[in-house]
């Protein structure tokens, strides 16, 4: 009986001690024993900022947004709170950037380039910058361009194709031209609008490919015994078309990425959404076309087709 | 026997249908009553209970639990529990059902002689057992 009481007592003491330690730890962690440090951020727009949005420094959360308000001039004042121990990361030359990543919630990023700079005083007001996603679009477009150049390169192989395929050659020649045009337009993508225009060209290309399919059809059904060389060439055309299709898909993925990123940017979103729809349309058409060619091609299932 | 069960509150009953608390020792069963009725401390109550058992001549059964007791020991515990209630009347309800291992009229008489109690003891039994109580 006494042993029982002793054990229960020990258990109770240990549990209470642990609970007490944890409570003190929690209070310490939540800054109960520290002074809180306040900072006001002035911003042009409070889009995406809400109370509770974290303020991060080097990827680690050091503070939170407490309230949002307006000042006399109609500007946004975002009040943030930091634990005293985290205030040392806030310097007078720190920059505050509003980050809205594709995955996860918005956060305010603090960059302090010079940690030796004088510390910010309590209740200081700093400017909140918005990270400019539109700057990233040209880089993305460069990558799209590279992919399209690859498509062009593929289509240029036509030059090596058998001359008996005069029709096909003409069409693919035109394809090259179209891609060239496309490239030249995409080469200077100042605005998303330009990309939209380039899409018009892509669609024109798709129309041409359609024509090609029609011709190839006609031609295949007219002549039953196509020459061996012709067959090979046709097989190559099919491969090229397949390549073009996958390249277009890559372009599509890139653009999807671009649209997602720029979804946070007000300006140009409409254009990019339109662009996205058009690329979808174009890729869909190219896909249909290639599928159709594959279906109608008499030797489509011949596994021994080889590139020259 | 509904008449016995319906006896008023000033009666302490010893009966087959009022068993001991099975997972408590004889001592704890008895000591419960001073603790909960007269708000004695646990040690004090245990002491009272032990004294009572000593008086009845069964000090050795204190640590036993209900299943470990003989019918006579069980009866003594129940009797002690009834005595410690300190009610003016004590009714032993059909002792033959509880005390089937001893000649019970004599046994009860012995216990009654040992117990110091001011009230009355009454035994309710079947009429055909009356012969057993004759000296």
């Amino acid at each position: 009986m006494n042993k029982l009481h002793f054990k229960v007592g020990l258990f109770a003491v240990a549990s209470l001690l642990l609970a007490g330690i944890f409570t003190v730890y929690l209070l310490h962690a939540r800054g109960f024993f520290e002074k809180t440090f306040h900072l006001q951020l002035a911003a042009a727009s409070a889009d995406g900022v809400a109370p509770g949005v974290p303020v991060v420094f080097s990827g680690i959360e050091i503070g939170r947004v407490t309230t949002l308000g307006l000042n006399e001039n109609g500007g946004i004042i975002i009040r943030t709170e930091f634990l005293g121990r985290n205030a040392k990361w806030l310097k007078e030359n720190s920059t505050f950037t509003l980050d809205k990543p594709i995955v996860g919630g918005a956060k305010i990023r603090v960059d302090s380039p010079d940690l030796a700079a004088p510390a910010l005083p309590d209740n200081a007001t700093m400017l909140l910058l918005t990270s400019d996603v539109s700057k990233e679009i040209p880089a993305l477009v460069e990558r799209v361009k590279a992919i399209l150049a690859n498509v062009e390169h593929l289509t240029r192989k036509d030059g090596d194709l058998n001359t008996t395929l005069a029709n096909v050659k003409t069409v693919t020649g035109r394809m090259t031209g179209e891609y060239g045009m496309l490239e030249s337009i995409l080469g200077s993508p100042e605005k998303a609008r330009a990309v939209t225009e380039s899409l018009e060209k892509t669609r024109a290309l798709i129309t041409k490919l359609d024509g090609l399919a029609a011709k190839a059809d006609q031609w295949l059904f007219a002549e039953k015994g196509v020459a061996e060389q012709t067959r090979e060439s046709l097989a190559q055309v099919r491969l090229i078309l397949n390549d073009a299709q996958s390249s277009l898909k890559k372009a599509d993925a890139m653009m999807a990425n671009a649209v997602e990123i720029s979804a946070n940017v007000n300006e140009g979103t409409q254009d990019l959404a339109q662009l996205r729809a058009e690329i979808d349309d174009a890729v869909h058409k190219a896909n249909d076309l290639v599928n159709e060619i594959n279906k109608k091609w008499p030797f489509a299932r011949n596994p021994e087709v080889k590139l020259p | 026997m509904a008449a016995v069960a319906a006896l008023p509150d000033e009666v302490a009953r010893v009966a087959l249908d009022l068993p001991l608390r099975a997972n408590l020792s004889a001592l704890d069963n008895i000591a419960l009553i001073p603790i909960y009725q007269r708000h004695f401390r646990v040690g004090e109550s245990n002491q009272q209970a032990q004294q009572l058992l000593d008086h009845l001549g069964h000090a050795d059964i204190a640590p036993l639990r209900d299943p470990d007791m003989t019918p006579a020991q069980r009866f003594v515990t129940k009797l002690a529990r009834a005595l410690i209630l300190k009610r003016p009347r004590l009714v032993i309800d059909r002792p033959g059902a509880m005390l089937y291992d001893v000649p019970y009229p004599t046994f009860i008489r012995q216990l009654a002689a040992r117990a110091e109690m001011t009230g009355t003891w009454e035994i309710f039994d079947f009429s055909w057992n009356q012969a057993l109580y004759k000296e």
Binding site: L4 | A22, Y36
Partner: protein, 264 residues
């Protein structure tokens, strides 16, 4: 038509049955809590019974329980960490671990553990007491069974589940730290940040209330189910079966409601 009427009737009987059970439990709980407020209840004897209950419900199984919590925590932490690494979401791993384990899974498993071990025992014991007339005997002796038998069990259950869940939670926090940062103090600051972020006042209070409700469910329901037992020995297993079913539903219901309150 007859069939329809019968099924409606049986449904009605079930609803009434559930309502009666619920009301019984509620009335019992009210009675118990009123008694809890009375200073006379808190005598040394009741306290002793509470201590005994805590011993049998929590202390006696502590090493087994902590071992079990250790294994479960280790497994869940490893799974969450490796999945988070695969998906490149490592920064969410520690938060995820704490939320899943400390706030949800461990209290739930603690409640199940205590229900299986102590809840079933309490149900059987109360049912046997009821069938054997022991409660009537106590009533005859004017020993209040509520104070002497039931209230200590309720208090012991609540104290045990809250403490066990708390200990298991602390263990899981420690394991989480070791799994993420290893045996060094480097991760202390970020881990503290994460903990501070999760455990605000509302969450801690909610956790304690949830564990207390779990503790109440795994003791109150078996006690009332035991008291409902008809005075026939063969009804004891039926009573335990019913009581444990109710305990299970209650635990799940508490968990679902707490999740709904937290995330909806």
């Amino acid at each position: 038509m007859n069939f329809l009427a019968t099924s409606i009737e049986s449904l009605g009987a079930k609803v009434v049955g559930w309502f009666t059970v619920g009301y019984g439990m509620f009335a019992f709980l009210v009675q118990a809590s009123l008694l809890l407020l009375e200073p006379a209840t808190w005598n040394r004897a009741t306290f002793d019974v509470v201590v005994k209950q805590v011993y049998f419900t929590a202390v006696q199984i502590l090493h087994v329980f902590l071992g079990y919590a250790l294994v479960i925590s280790w497994l869940i932490i490893s799974i969450i960490l490796s999945t988070a690494r695969d998906f490149g979401l490592t920064e969410f791993a520690s938060e995820m671990t704490i939320r899943v384990l400390v706030l949800e899974l461990l209290p739930f498993l603690t409640a199940l553990f205590v229900a299986l071990r102590s809840g079933s025992a309490i149900n059987t014991e109360v049912a046997l007491m009821q069938v054997n007339n022991e409660l009537d005997a106590l009533a005859h002796c004017k020993v209040p069974p509520m104070q002497f038998e039931f209230l200590p069990r309720l208090v012991g259950g609540v104290v045990s589940v809250v403490t066990l869940a708390g200990l298991a939670g602390l263990l899981a926090l420690l394991m989480g730290y070791l799994a993420i940062y290893g045996m060094n103090a480097a991760g202390f600051e970020p881990y503290t940040q994460t903990i501070a972020k999760i455990f605000d006042f509302k969450i801690v209070a909610g956790l304690v209330v949830k564990c207390a409700l779990f503790g109440l469910a795994v003791t109150l329901i078996p006690v009332t189910a035991g008291l409902e037992t008809p005075k026939k020995l063969f009804m004891v297993p039926v009573s335990v079966l019913r009581g444990m079913m109710r305990v299970f539903f209650a635990i799940v219901a508490i968990e679902v409601v707490s999740l709904a309150l937290k995330y909806i």
